[in-house]
Symmetry: C2
Subunit: 413 residues, 2 copies
């Protein structure tokens, strides 16, 4: 018997048939005597529909009111799941984020979880109930409803698992776990059985959508073991946990992200402090930036070019930031290019083995794929390449690093 | 400048276009400098859709969870109205029933308002904001979400007006006020400009749908003046308020209700305490009963028949109650007849003037309309008649009592 926090995403509760399926899964666990806290997202496209209504009446809806509106999505799915469980004879109670004691900052639409008052959940568990908590939301200390932003339901689940001291947290999604590459692109992609928090965090930030970065950070900070698995299969998924890092450097996975825009600032004055000013304005506008490159520029005109990558989602904010920037800094022009993808090779200590970078560049070169920008960390090497070559690159890199494991292992020994 | 609580019903906010229309109405008041608390119902058919989902997964959904589900309907409409007002440059804040401080009993799906903590609303009003409150809902002292049952949004508005000491409460609906009869049936029906709480309460309980009974009771208890008027017109509506009752007895209106079922219990044993047992079981099953008739019955068999009227909505509960009753009382059979309507003549002190009853029976007799049952109070005389004669009866009674006012007044003097 374990104490488990489970999370079911929007696609797992997309319609009443799927809600029933989730109820049956919960029932399986419940019949085994597990204590269960179940975090649920809004049904399928509900959040998008609510957003659509808000933007129909206002080009930029006030964020407090947007959260008031969006939070109804999860409130509907938790109550429906509780009603469905009752029909199966299982005693449960649904709670909004606020009722569950999730206290957040008042940074509406992307609030941070500050603390969790877990008394109410604990008392319902003690009554023998399955406790169903609305994901993605909380309340301020002022009783206002907040939402946690993208991936908020994963964060809710991992934070609750940490606060309640659950044995582990299960993230139910529409894939069987974390793979060495996207199986829709690479047929030889394999499921990863265990992965470290660091590697998972890197993969999440690089576009692997199975588990959100904030949730990984929470889990790592509080030592919550996370099991990522499919709602629609009984198969074991991927365990995210502390992995002994004394082992050899090893490539874990090839990831890619499509939804990127490369931004180039042309003719930026070549003065000290210029980069600081650019990225200060971007940060003030809540734009996350990756892969910054500063060109040599033309000495004659005392100008240089800056290039960086932002997510497509942030494109509008970026354009706003650049118009703000135009007021403090004279630059000659800007270019936006969304025909790029980022392909990354992920693994702990990957930069400490210089042969890996070498092999990446060699294999991409062999395929005739032009590398536009490169960025690295101790956990990954990322290359910006033309979007139309992404699949080729992922397949080639997977073949190079992950398909001949026996041989790689032999080499290691 | 007044302090006004307004309520807009579901048909007034049925879609985004109508929400915008309500926002413009609010703006008109706001520009005149009024302080405004705006109570809003769920958009159009939202509540029905949510109920439908719940009943798809459960024949009898747990009521706490049903309230959790249904309360989202108003949460959506208040946040959308606030967003729309912002687009018009008006500062507002939306509040759930719980956030607005509406504390109720935990009698889910038909909770009673116990008290209102008005501090939060007052402080937002002091900030110059329009305060938008979700109708139909509140929370228990335990932070659980409740709904107030049918007509709950009217009750929310009148209770808030009482608690806040508003100058008056405006109920915006899809008709221009309270009429002497349904204008769709009687073309000569006139709008009533002022009506007493007692008369309004009687009309509400008799099926006039403009203002719910609970709201009238609240308003009377706390002396809140209520203005019932149309969302879609600038016209003055009907004021519900304390009316000097020293004036002459006067017929106010002719009302009718269609959604009734006449229930007959056949061959009930003629023993003392039998009626008490029957109506105890009905009360335990939450069935409201009107127009009870006990037949003389057959002396030989020592049996009698009982007839009474329930609302169509309560038919299912009534059938349940009668099967419960079968266990404690032997009766020979039951009949349900939904081909009946109740037509009522309403006015303060109506039974104190015996000529009115006489005139009712005479006029219905002249029309050849058979009266099946009669019930009376100091405020009304009701007759159960065949449904297909309802319109004739309403027109004839309206003609008799309300279309020749000058003459009637002359007779009184």
């Amino acid at each position: 018997m374990s104490f488990i926090v489970q999370k079911y995403g929007g696609s797992s509760v997309a319609d009443l048939e799927r809600v029933r399926h989730v109820a049956f899964r919960v029932k399986q666990y419940w019949e085994l005597g597990h204590q269960l806290v179940v975090v649920v997202s809004a049904m399928g496209k509900t959040t998008d529909q609510l957003l659509h209504m808000a933007f129909e009446v206002h080009p930029r809806p006030p964020e407090r009111e947007l959260d008031m509106l969006l939070a109804t999505g999860e409130q509907i799915s938790v109550s429906l799941l509780s009603i469905t469980l009752d029909a199966l004879g299982i005693d449960s109670i649904s709670l909004t984020g606020g009722q569950a004691g999730i206290i957040t900052s008042d940074f509406y639409t992307r609030a941070k979880i500050l603390r969790i008052h877990s008394a109410r959940i604990r008392s319902h568990l003690a009554e023998g109930k399955v406790v169903i908590v609305a994901g993605f939301q909380g309340k301020t200390s002022n009783e206002d409803i907040t939402t946690l932003g993208r991936g908020g339901s994963d964060a809710t689940a991992c934070a609750l698992a940490a606060a309640l001291g659950a044995d582990f947290c299960e993230i139910f999604t529409d894939v069987n776990g974390v793979f060495t590459a996207d199986p829709r692109i690479v047929s030889q992609a394999r499921k990863i059985h265990r992965i470290s928090y660091d590697e998972m965090a890197e993969m999440a930030s690089l576009g692997a959508r199975v588990l959100q970065l904030r949730a990984v950070d929470f889990s790592q900070k509080y030592g919550v073991r996370v099991h990522v698995r499919s709602t629609f299969s009984e198969e074991e998924g991927t365990w995210v946990e502390e992995v002994d890092t004394m082992e050899e450097v090893k490539v874990r996975a090839i990831t890619h992200s499509r939804d990127l825009v490369k931004v180039v600032l042309l003719g930026v004055p070549n003065e000290p402090g210029v980069a600081a000013r650019i990225f200060k304005v971007l940060a003030e506008n809540m734009v996350s930036v990756d892969m910054i490159i500063q060109s040599e520029g033309s000495e004659a005109q005392n100008q240089k070019d800056f290039a960086f990558v932002v997510s497509k989602e942030d494109e509008r904010k970026t354009r706003g930031a650049l118009s703000d920037l135009g007021r403090v800094l004279l630059f000659q022009g800007q270019k936006f290019d969304d025909s790029v993808t980022r392909v990354s090779v992920v693994g702990v200590g990957i930069m400490s083995d210089s042969s890996i970078a070498h092999r990446i560049f060699r294999i991409l070169g062999k395929c005739g794929i032009n590398i536009d920008m490169i960025s690295t960390s101790n956990l990954r090497i990322s290359c910006l390449i033309p979007a139309e070559r992404m699949e080729d690159a992922v397949r080639a890199l997977h073949g190079e690093f992950l398909e001949d494991e026996e041989v790689t292992l032999n080499e290691d020994f």
